[in-house]
Structure formats: structure tokens, C-alpha cells
């Protein structure tokens, strides 16, 4: 596979070759049907089904028992009692969201989106982050489902904490290990190896590793005279501990992608820089960083999408505890459906998560067009 590959329609075969037999369309569909049937049934249709279910009060224990309730599930997610509006409510998150505005304007300047799209997106961002997210329950008020905000907030927190750490370490390791040699190859293997473990093995190792009485980390703390910390039972430390666990597990994946990206950079650029007397930092800044642009954007997007789907680590290691500190979106969706038996509500929340994630991928495709 040496061809450069883009996300476009595959090329049409030349005209002399166009008609193999009279029944070309027939043979094409014969090749396609087995996959398409399964694909439509088990990948696309569930999205439609989620939309439908979101309008119903749908009982898990008796799936034929369902009542149409319109938008009530969404009201329960997004609304509460005694609602009020504040300019400063959760302002940190809202400013983070509004940072998208300069990105959009830059994309317009570079011509990757139209003027109308720019206006629509800017208005949309302002509507969501500046206005809608200022709405919250006032005095004596409460969200109808405060766990919805808590768990989606934790997913966001995990994403914000883990993405820079995993991407940054992956990049650093890739640069350090981007050289020939058997030993280096062996080291790459060691850093990558945890990626092939399943989430249940990961949690098995790390739950005991982080355990203050049985684990190695506790032992290391004791050996230097420190009191071991019960990481997973501590509201401050539980989420960072999950982030470190995930970092250990998945950094190899990003390492591999960054290594592939580094190997695509033209070596002669470095040689030319050597002749010009550039130092290591300058070479990194002016050759490596621009050369890795496409890879970095890809890695960051994949990382964000993977982080939004975090579930197994927390579900097995902490069950969302202590005190809800690590309860994440998918756990809330799972428990609403499979513990509280409300399939309709849990579908509505899946759909929300789905829309947010598709939104992120679309933005990535639109705003960071693949260059060279």
C-alpha cells in the first residue's frame, strides 16, 4: 500500500474497462449486498431507532410497554425547577467553547467554509455557550436530572485532562524513539504492549497497583516515608488516577500514529537545516511541528472521540465513585437503561452524546482540511 489515500470517492475505471459484462451493476450489488444489509441494519438503523425511542417512555422490563411522551425526555435532561440565567455560570467551560469563534473565522479566511456557514456557526456557538449554558436552576431550584450534568461534565473533564497528556507523551515518545536500531525497536514494543490488553485486564492490574495496601505505588510511597494514598477512594485523586491508567494503556496507539507521521517527513529537510547550523529545538519548531500538523490533528480528534466514550475503566475500577467523582456519560446512559429500566430516556441521552461527537468529527473535517 504505497498509494496516498484520501477520503474521496474511489476512482472510476477507464472507459474501455467500464463494461465487463452486460450485468455490471448486477455484479456490483452482488458484491455489496452482504455488507450493506448488515451495515444498514446494525449500524445506521440504530441511529433512527434511537431518535424514535427518545420520544417514548419505554420500559426495559416489558419492551412492548411504551408511551409517547413527546419531548419530555429532553426536558428532563436539559431543564429543572426555578430556572434562571447568569452571565457567569460555569464561565470557564463557556469561554472554552467560545474559543471556537476565532477558529471559525480563521477557517473562513482560509476559504474552507462559506460566509453563510461561518455566520451560522458563530451564531450557533454564541447561542450555545454565551446564552444557553448560562441557564441553570436558581435558589431552591434543581435540575430534573442533576446526574446527567454531573456525568457528562465528568466525561468532559476526563477528555480535557487526558487528551493533552496522552497526545503530548505520545509525541514525545515518538520523537525520542524515531531512530533506527534493534534496541529502539524493542523499546517501542515495550511502550506499545499495554495497548493490546483488554480493559478488564487493565483494571485488574491498576486497581491493585493503586491499592494502598497491595499495590506497588503504595509500597513505593512507604519506602520513602510517605503515607500511601487510597487513590481510587479519594474524590480529588480518583479522576487523575483514571487518567494515568488510561495514559499507560493507550499512549502506544498515539506513539504508532506519530511515528508514522514522523517517517513521512522528508529527511532532506533536516539535512539542509544541519548545513544551515540549526539546533535541535529549531529543527523541531520549523520542520517537525509543521510536518506533523496533519498527524497531530488526526491524533487529537481520535483521542477526543475515544475519551468521550470512556466507560470500562471507571465502571470496573470505581463504579463511578467515590461520591460520583468519576461517574461518566456512558455509565449514566447504561444505568438509566439497564438499572433504572428507562430505555427511552437512556436513548435520548445516547442521541445527545452522539450529536456532540459527530459535531466534533464534522468540525475537524471542516476546519482542519488535510494539507500536503
Amino acid at each position: 500500500m504505497t498509494a496516498t489515500v484520501e477520503r474521496t470517492s474511489p476512482e472510476v475505471t477507464p472507459s474501455a474497462f467500464r463494461r465487463w459484462t452486460a450485468s455490471d451493476s448486477f455484479s456490483a450489488w452482488a458484491f455489496l449486498i452482504p455488507f450493506l444489509v448488515i451495515y444498514l441494519l446494525f449500524l445506521l438503523y440504530p441511529v433512527v431507532q434511537a431518535v424514535i425511542m427518545g420520544f417514548f417512555d419505554w420500559d426495559f422490563l416489558d419492551i412492548s410497554d411504551r408511551t409517547f411522551i413527546g419531548l419530555e425526555n429532553y426536558g428532563r435532561m436539559f431543564w429543572g425547577t426555578n430556572m434562571t440565567w447568569d452571565a457567569t455560570h460555569i464561565w470557564q467551560w463557556r469561554i472554552l467553547g467560545l474559543l471556537g469563534v476565532p477558529l471559525i473565522i480563521r477557517a473562513k479566511r482560509r476559504g474552507s467554509i462559506t460566509r453563510t456557514a461561518m455566520i451560522a456557526l458563530v451564531v450557533g456557538l454564541i447561542a450555545v455557550f454565551a446564552i444557553a449554558m448560562g441557564v441553570h436552576p436558581g435558589v431552591d431550584g434543581r435540575w430534573y436530572d442533576s446526574q446527567f450534568w454531573g456525568s457528562f461534565g465528568n466525561t468532559l473533564l476526563f477528555t480535557v485532562m487526558s487528551t493533552p497528556a496522552i497526545v503530548g507523551l505520545g509525541l514525545a515518545l515518538a520523537i525520542a524513539l524515531n531512530r533506527p536500531g534493534r534496541l529502539v525497536g524493542f523499546l517501542r514494543t515495550l511502550f506499545f504492549a499495554p495497548y493490546v490488553l483488554s480493559v478488564a485486564v487493565l483494571t485488574l492490574i491498576w486497581a491493585f497497583l493503586l491499592n494502598p495496601t497491595t499495590g506497588l505505588i503504595g509500597a513505593a510511597f512507604e519506602s520513602v516515608g510517605l503515607e500511601p494514598i487510597n487513590w481510587l477512594n479519594n474524590t480529588t485523586w480518583a479522576m487523575p488516577a483514571i487518567v494515568v491508567t488510561t495514559l499507560w494503556w493507550t499512549v502506544g496507539f498515539n506513539l504508532v500514529l506519530f511515528l508514522a507521521g514522523l517517517q513521512d517527513i522528508d529527511k532532506s529537510q533536516y539535512e539542509a537545516a544541519d548545513i544551515d547550523g540549526a539546533n535541535g529545538w529549531e529543527k523541531f519548531q520549523f520542520i517537525t511541528v509543521p510536518g506533523l500538523r496533519r498527524t497531530t490533528l488526526l491524533v487529537v480528534t481520535l483521542q477526543i472521540i475515544a475519551s468521550f466514550q470512556i466507560f470500562g475503566q471507571v465502571f470496573i475500577m470505581t463504579r463511578g465513585g467515590p461520591n460520583g467523582a468519576t461517574r461518566v456519560a456512558i455509565q449514566h446512559i447504561y444505568e438509566s437503561g439497564f438499572r433504572d429500566f428507562e430505555l427511552g430516556y437512556s436513548s435520548a441521552m445516547s442521541l445527545f452524546l452522539f450529536v456532540v461527537m459527530v459535531g466534533i468529527s464534522v468540525l475537524q473535517f471542516k476546519f482542519f482540511p488535510e494539507e500536503g
Binding site: F35, I63, L187, A193, V201, L257
Partner: protein
């Protein structure tokens, strides 16, 4: 470089020294990386060590990286106590079937998209690509309902089908077949071979590297699948090794059985670790073409 250097031979010496210095620094850096990699792998070594240590020793000390009085009793416990062998078999079946069908269906669909010009392609291909954006874990509730309505949960096909529906393989195979020059297929066509025959005897063998990469990648992802088996296979006999092992981690106080638990972790990882050692290159390639669309 403390001595003043003026004569040519001495200058050479300084250059050599600078070179040696650089070499020294590079060695130091490698040593640092080596230590970091060893630390990185300690958690896995620890799992192996605990799995080989008798449980009565583990009640006193769990911090050894080399097993004390090593034993295989934990592994015989895996075979004789509980459902681990059954879960292992379930995982083998589901993962094997999923990988096989992913390869067949992806190769067929990819061939059609890449090599045949037909009505509806402009609609069908973007439709498949759109699926790349559907996050795997987001749609498990409606999927659960679909299988529940026809009472098909706790079956192997319920575990495998949603995985086979993934469009990534089709995307990879389409890209691969598009890159093959026309002359290859032309020769078979002139010889009077049918589409199907050309596909199976000419195109598929050429696609072996791409298929291997796709197979390894699919195998790893399916073996490690957690959320879907968790909701679909709820009878203990139908657990996969991943959900089964997770179910054993519920009560934490069982440090008495730590060795046996770690042995189960080792068993659950073994197929993938073996695959990884043999097919590391293909797995890494699968990752880069699968996520970056490049190879």
C-alpha cells in the same frame, strides 16, 4: 577540552572528542529511555509475577516483581474453578467469526466500490463513509432493543453482528483495491475470467497484506470489546473473557485469591500478547491505515 589547541593534529582530537561527547550523550539518552521503558512495563511484569506466586505468600507480600517460590497452581485453578475456560472459548468463537466475516464482507464491498462502475455508487459509498462517524459506543441502547425484540440476546450472533457492520474495513479495502493498476485485472478479463473468479484468484491474493493488517486489528478490537457484550450477553455462560474477568473484579477484599485472579488476567491477555509478538508489524500497520487512512 581544557588544553589550548592550535596545531592541526590537535584540532582533530577535539573534533573526535566532540564526536565522542555526542555519542556519549546519545548513549545516556538511550539508557534513560531504556529505564523508562522498563518502568513502563512493570505493571505487566507484576501481573505475571503475582499469577505465578502461591496465594498464601501473596497474603503477606504482593510487591515482588519476581515470583517467590513460583507455582502453576493459580493456572490450574483457572481451569478447574469457575467459568473462565468457557468465557475464553466464547471470546475465541465471537472474535474468530467476527474477524472472518469482517474480512470477507469488507473485501467484497471494497472491491465493488473500487473496481466496478455502477449505478448508485455515488450514493452508496458516501453512505458507508458516513458510518465512520457513528461512534461505536453511542448506539448500544437501540441495538439492545432490536435484539431484545426478536429475543436474540445471549447468542454468538448477537455478539458478532454489530461488529461486522463496521465500515472501517470497507474503507480500507476500497482504498487498497483502488490503488491496484488496471492491467492486472485486464489480463484476467481478457482470459475470460468472471468478476467473481478475478476477485478470488487475482485480487484477493494481492490484498493479503491489507487483509492481514485488517484481521489483526479487528481481532484485537473484538477480543477487547466490553460495552456491547456487557449489555447483550447477560447469562454467565455467555460472558466473553473480557466481561467475565470484569465480573470477577466486583468484590475487592478478595486479596486471598489475588494470584488466581491475576492468572485469569494472564490467560485473558495471552492470545493477544502472542498475536502481538508475531504480528506486531501488521497490527501497527492496521492502526495507521485504519485511523489515518494511509499506509
Amino acid at each position: 577540552m581544557t588544553t589550548a589547541t592550535t596545531t592541526p593534529p590537535r584540532t582533530q582530537t577535539t573534533e573526535e572528542r566532540a564526536h565522542r561527547n555526542r555519542k556519549m550523550r546519545s548513549r545516556l539518552f538511550m539508557a534513560f529511555l531504556f529505564v523508562a521503558a522498563i518502568i513502563w512495563i512493570i505493571p505487566m511484569v507484576w501481573m505475571f509475577s503475582l499469577s505465578l506466586t502461591p496465594n498464601n505468600i501473596l497474603q503477606l507480600d504482593t510487591t515482588n516483581l519476581l515470583p517467590q517460590s513460583p507455582t502453576l497452581e493459580n493456572f490450574s485453578d483457572v481451569i478447574s474453578v469457575g467459568l473462565t475456560p468457557r468465557w475464553f472459548l466464547n471470546s475465541m468463537i465471537v472474535t474468530g467469526v467476527t474477524t472472518l466475516f469482517t474480512l470477507i464482507l469488507s473485501a467484497m464491498a471494497g472491491y465493488a466500490f473500487a473496481r466496478i462502475d455502477f449505478k448508485g455508487k455515488k450514493l452508496a459509498y458516501p453512505l458507508v463513509l458516513a458510518g465512520l462517524m457513528v461512534p461505536k459506543e453511542a448506539m448500544f441502547v437501540p441495538l439492545f432493543l432490536m435484539f431484545a425484540e426478536v429475543e436474540q440476546h445471549n447468542t454468538f450472533h448477537a455478539l458478532a453482528l454489530p461488529r461486522i457492520a463496521a465500515p472501517l474495513g470497507v474503507f480500507i479495502m476500497t482504498q487498497f483495491f483502488t490503488a491496484i493498476p488496471n492491467e492486472v485485472e485486464e489480463a484476467a478479463r481478457v482470459d475470460g475470467a468472471t468478476r467473481w473468479k478475478t476477485f478470488t484468484t487475482v485480487m484477493l491474493p494481492m490484498a493479503a497484506p491489507a487483509l492481514t493488517a485488517l484481521a489483526i486489528f479487528t481481532f484485537v478490537l473484538t477480543w477487547n470489546d466490553f460495552l456491547w457484550p456487557l449489555v447483550s450477553a447477560t447469562q454467565r455462560e455467555m460472558f466473553t473473557i473480557t466481561t467475565g474477568l470484569a465480573s470477577l473484579q466486583g468484590n475487592f477484599a478478595q486479596a486471598t485469591e489475588l494470584g488466581a485472579l491475576m492468572a485469569r488476567g494472564v490467560v485473558a491477555s495471552l492470545p493477544l500478547l502472542i498475536l502481538f509478538v508475531i504480528f506486531q508489524r501488521q497490527l501497527i500497520r492496521g492502526i495507521s491505515i485504519g485511523s489515518g487512512g494511509k499506509g
